[in-house]
């Protein structure tokens, strides 16, 4: 395309670069503060506060973070919940999506409405809490972080649309040849749906990784918390930093712990894996969002 080079156009072009640069700084600034603070010596933090630049660098906060037993367990819990949750979620959601995509199943509109209704009528927090906690007795247990969010109606519909768009002759002829539905799903449908599975799986993985609400609601007496909940507790009080720093048999008073740095270091290790994976998986998220816009 030929560019006209009038002054107005150049100013306009400059303006868009300036705006975008400012917006990028706005997006990155909080990360910058977080990372710098996590590498600053704690005494300096106490004096200066969280500044964009450290006077004295140090990795003491990370040393404490990786020694803390609650944080170690938290990491394990978060990894377990993310991996197991995402896999289970993909498994059950694609099963349901397949049920709705199979043309010979006549009740598929009823099933779709059954799922859809939960999207437009949410029951409210109190009955949900009573059901999960008192009726199903799902609390203080690692599965309390996995089951309640395993089926997301929106992604079920996304998967259903993807499955339904596959060439139906292949599926029907496989069925005519005597392949069971399980075989068709696992041997034909899922291998053909890798892009959709990757997208849905990644969204679920991020959701599980960041999940804190279920922990807050359902883990009262448990000896473990997911990482994101530890972060929240650290925001709200200093006490839990002390808890996080518990070592078997050793007594440490709070004054010795670099609490200000530890907070930011914990936040950094929580987002670390997401940031590391981000460049490789970004395009799947872009795809997921546009998929959602078309039919959501």
């Amino acid at each position: 395309m030929r560019e006209s080079k009038s002054l107005g156009d150049r100013l306009f072009s400059l303006g868009s670069y300036v705006y975008l640069t400012i917006f990028m700084i706005f997006c990155l600034f909080p990360f910058w503060i977080m990372i710098v603070a996590s590498f600053t010596k704690d005494i300096v933090l106490r004096e200066d506060g969280y500044l964009p630049w450290a006077r004295v660098w140090s990795i003491e906060a990370y040393k404490w973070v990786f020694k803390g037993s609650e944080i170690q367990t938290g990491y394990m819990v978060t990894i377990f919940v993310t991996v197991v949750g995402t896999l289970c979620s993909l498994f059950v959601m694609s099963g349901l999506a397949y049920l709705m995509a199979v043309k010979r199943f006549k009740g598929r509109n009823k099933v779709a409405f059954y799922i859809f209704f939960t999207m437009i009528f949410t029951p409210g927090l109190i009955p949900w809490f009573i059901t999960v906690r008192n009726l199903l007795q799902l609390h203080d247990n690692i599965w309390a972080l996995v089951f309640p969010m395993m089926v997301q109606p929106f992604w079920v519909f996304v998967l259903r649309n993807f499955f339904a768009a596959l060439p139906s002759e292949i599926l029907e002829s496989a069925y005519m040849d005597g392949a069971s539905d399980a075989t068709i799903l696992f041997k034909i449908v899922l291998p053909l749906s890798k892009p959709a599975l990757a997208t849905v799986g990644l969204f679920m993985a991020v959701a599980y990784w960041n999940e804190w609400f279920l922990g807050l609601m359902l883990l009262d007496f448990a000896s473990f918390s997911p990482l994101s909940l530890i972060v929240l507790k650290m925001v709200n009080n200093l006490q839990s930093i002390q808890d996080a720093m518990k070592y078997p048999g050793v007594n440490i008073n709070l004054g010795q712990i670099p609490t200000l740095g530890v907070r930011m270091a914990t936040a950094c290790i929580t987002i670390g894996p997401i940031i590391l994976a981000y460049p490789f998986v970004q395009r799947y998220f872009v795809k997921g969002l546009t998929m959602g816009a078309i039919k959501g």
Binding site: I120, F121, A267, V286
Partner: protein
Amino acid sequence: MTSLTKDLGRKTTDTQNKVRPPKASGLQKSLRYVQENAILFLLGAPALILIFLFSYIPMMGTIIAFQDYSPRTMFLSPWVGFRNFRLLVESPIVVRLIVNTLSLNAMFIAATTFFSVLSALLLNEVRAIGFKRIAQSIMFLPFFMGWTIVAMVLFGLIDYQVGTINAIITKFGMERVIVTDKPELWPWILTTIRVWKGTGAGCIIYLAALVSIDPQLYEAAAIDGASRWQRMRFISLPTLTPVIILLVLLDIGRIFFGDFGMIYAVVGDKANLYATTDVIDTYLLRALRNNSNYGFSAAVGLLQSVLGFICIYGSNMIVKRYSQSRGEDYTLF
């Protein structure tokens, strides 16, 4: 065979029309149907059961809004009719909750839509592919941060003692600001956070719409002497208008189901900020954690569900009308 069929409910028709060959009964048919498709149903069952457990039982559980709840009897507590709702109408808190929910959400929708559209339009003007790609990636990144991380960062920025903002302004000899004592600031803080987290994700959809514009249109306009501003104003923006309308309508539909865990995580339980930040969800959360009157709280929750249902249904009708008039269908149902 015939006796079985008779037993299974088509007795009258079968005895009356003896000439006809015996048909399989409805139940028998469906039994065979289930048997033939057993694996298919088994594949779908786990998710259907999970939905039943975590959505439908709580949905039925909303009846506690009409009960005097006690933990022993759970959903079978004694009925009190509309008592909880009478309390709700009299309670000054409910108006505040609804007003906050609506006004905060309106601010979120307006701000994120504005910045998403602006960013998409300007990204579309950028010719340097590398810059465009990096800008998009960086703006999208905050989308992946959990609310607890956001809460931590916000603490780092605004804390009275060590927050970045206070640290910097004291360097210039100004007074520290106690942000947690200023409820009037919080709607703006929360909106800023929403813009920070949501703009990158929001502009992706608009960018996708912009990509579909035929480049010849821009070229023709350029030859006719349209400046870049004019091309954006008269080609790009009109293309986005229907998308903007649709997305805003869908957002309005979900206005009562906003992601309000966010407010709980970010604001915490600060009583002096309730005036501007307390919304229905945070109120319910607090009610749960303080073990207060569940029946009353459930009534507040039910009110939210019903208002939410009306909103989503209404907005969907409008979206349907609007998109059908354009020969498309963007509706949920």
